[in-house]
């Protein structure tokens, strides 16, 4: 289990760390019991992600995935952001060790949750994803 240079770079200098006090959408996933938890804040204008911040409790891969995922959706439309897969996050990081792939899943999931949070707050139907029907049982 060794991290790619890209993972390490994002882990050591994570982009978009922080909170957005007046966020338009917030998504929190994971469980500290399992060793990782991710919270994503979105600032949305005209269907575009104007700003994004995250806070993550977790391993190097979790932090790097958060950083990369937020970078990848910044400035994108909500549809584009929704379609960001965990695989794309992992690939952008130069790959993740097999046992750490779930960290990229967490990032995808957190973005989906934040977008749906925004949609619900704005009276829109939440979109359905592969995590919709069940709280993703991470590690259990």
């Amino acid at each position: 289990m060794e991290y790619s240079d890209k993972v390490m770079e994002h882990f050591i200098n994570p982009r978009n760390v922080g909170e957005i006090p007046d966020a338009d959408g917030i998504g929190e996933v994971g469980n500290p019991k399992c060793g990782d938890m991710m919270k994503i804040y979105l600032k949305i204008e005209d269907n575009i992600i104007k700003d994004v911040k995250f806070k993550t409790f977790g391993c190097g891969a979790a932090i790097a995935s958060s950083s990369m995922a937020t970078e990848l959706i910044k400035g994108k439309t909500l549809e584009e952001a929704w379609n960001l897969t965990n695989k794309a996050v992992a690939e952008a990081l130069g790959g993740l060790p097999a046992v750490k792939m779930h960290c990229s899943v967490l990032a995808e999931e957190a973005i989906h949750k934040a977008i749906n949070d925004y949609r619900i707050k704005n009276g829109l139907e939440p979109w359905e994803d592969r995590f919709s029907n069940s709280e993703h049982d991470h590690h259990e």
Binding site: V17, K33, G35, M37, K39, K55, A62, P97
Partner: protein, 394 residues
């Protein structure tokens, strides 16, 4: 402070001391003879092994005839446990151990469980201590083996081995202790402590990797784990790891010649570091026993952060350490030891083990103290748990 290399993972493994390596060197290319051979050339090999055996025996107050060299600590543990179990099956099928043993002991026990043995895994208290009354209660007339570690590799807690040995001896039960972390750090007297079997591994006390030993008290019934040639009085087959055994002998001699002095030095450094950590970093708890612990061991949990990311950042500053977080090993649960002492999962994930040893100096300690608080703070500022805590949400 300037970046430096600080190795604080001596419980994982140590470097080989130059004196130890020097003692080993003649046995690779020069005196390489097979100790079992007839010719004069191989006598040096045989003599070297017997000298090493005497050194190990002396360090434990055992007889040389009671020392058997193995390929490491895990082999010694497996041999002790399976060997006693198989050889004494007619007497019973019950084994008592604890929840905080090293995996070499735990998984050997679980294997035996699968094939018909019954294992009692004793609980430990919040400090990782076995309860003697519970041990006594667990004993049945089918109990053939008690295996309880001398000192824990994660939290450093030292068990009341002499007390346990006395109970086992009184009840006629074989007593094995995994002393892989204890040798060189705790004074061991197998006779006085009524220990029947004891495992050790050279690479934990500045000897080479890949060599260990099992002390087997005269008269203990035990099957072989590795059958074959007549080496080690027919109890452990395989051409002897000659340089490794010589290294083990030299290392145990060095490690046990002044345990008090060594401990004083290491403890002083350890306490300076521990006090500094507790002072500078809030929301931190010490894991393991406050006094009855290995001299070089620190195990703390920093709330709101996860251990692997902590290790990676420490590594950026040249500091080598270890954690009980599952995230560092790719396993699903955090350390079984931290769970056994009652830590909630999320706290166990935030654990850091720093194990000091002969490589460390005061400068190392001060360097870690200059780096660690900032790293913890940085990770906390990134942590949604910390955010909730600050906001009073948890």
């Amino acid at each position: 402070m300037e970046k430096r290399f600080v190795y604080m993972d001596h419980a994982a493994t140590t470097y080989v001391k130059p004196e130890v390596l020097e003692a080993m060197m003649p046995y690779f290319t020069e005196n390489f003879g097979n100790p079992s051979s007839v010719y004069t050339f191989s006598r040096k090999s045989k003599k070297a092994i017997e000298e090493a055996r005497e050194k190990v025996a002396k360090a434990l107050n055992a007889l040389p005839d009671e020392i058997f060299f193995t390929g490491g600590g895990s082999e010694a543990d497996n041999w002790a446990i399976k060997g006693v179990a198989f050889a004494n099956r007619d007497k019973g099928n019950h084994i008592i151990t604890t929840k905080i043993e090293h995996h070499a002991v735990l998984h050997a026990c679980e294997y035996l469980e699968k094939i018909g043995f019954e294992i009692t895994y004793l609980d430990v208290d919040e400090y990782g201590m076995v309860n003697i009354d519970e041990l006594k209660k667990a004993i049945t007339d089918r109990t053939i083996l008690i295996t309880i570690m001398f000192a824990n590799n994660e939290i450093g807690t030292i068990q009341p081995i002499a007390e346990i040995g006395k109970i086992a001896r009184e009840r006629g039960i074989i007593f094995h202790t995994d002393a892989v972390q204890a040798v060189g750090n705790v004074k061991i007297d197998v006779k006085e402590m009524n220990i029947d079997l004891l495992s050790l591994a050279a690479h934990k006390f500045y000897g080479p990797k890949g060599v260990g030993a099992l002390y087997i008290r005269k008269g203990v019934k035990i099957d072989n784990l590795i059958h074959g040639g007549g080496q080690e009085k027919g109890k452990r087959a395989g051409t002897e790891n000659l340089p490794g055994i010589v290294g083990l002998g030299k290392a145990i001699e060095l490690a046990t010649q002044d345990i008090d002095g060594h401990n004083e030095r290491i403890k002083k450094l350890r306490d300076r570091l521990l006090n500094g950590i507790m002072e500078k970093i809030p929301y931190t708890r010490l894991n393991g026993h406050p006094e009855k612990r290995l001299p070089g061991n620190i195990n703390v949990s920093f709330k709101f952060i996860e251990g692997e990311s902590l290790l990676l950042l420490l590594d950026q500053f040249g500091i080598c350490a270890s954690t009980g977080s599952a995230c560092s090993s790719g396993s699903l649960d955090p350390s079984h030891v931290l769970l056994a002492i009652g830590l909630p999962h999320e706290i166990a994930h935030g654990s850091l083990r720093l194990t000091l040893g002969d490589l460390n100096t005061e400068e190392d300690v001060d360097y870690v103290l200059s780096v660690l608080p900032n790293i913890v703070q940085r990770l906390r500022e990134m942590s949604p748990l910390y955010e909730k805590f600050i906001k009073g949400e948890i």
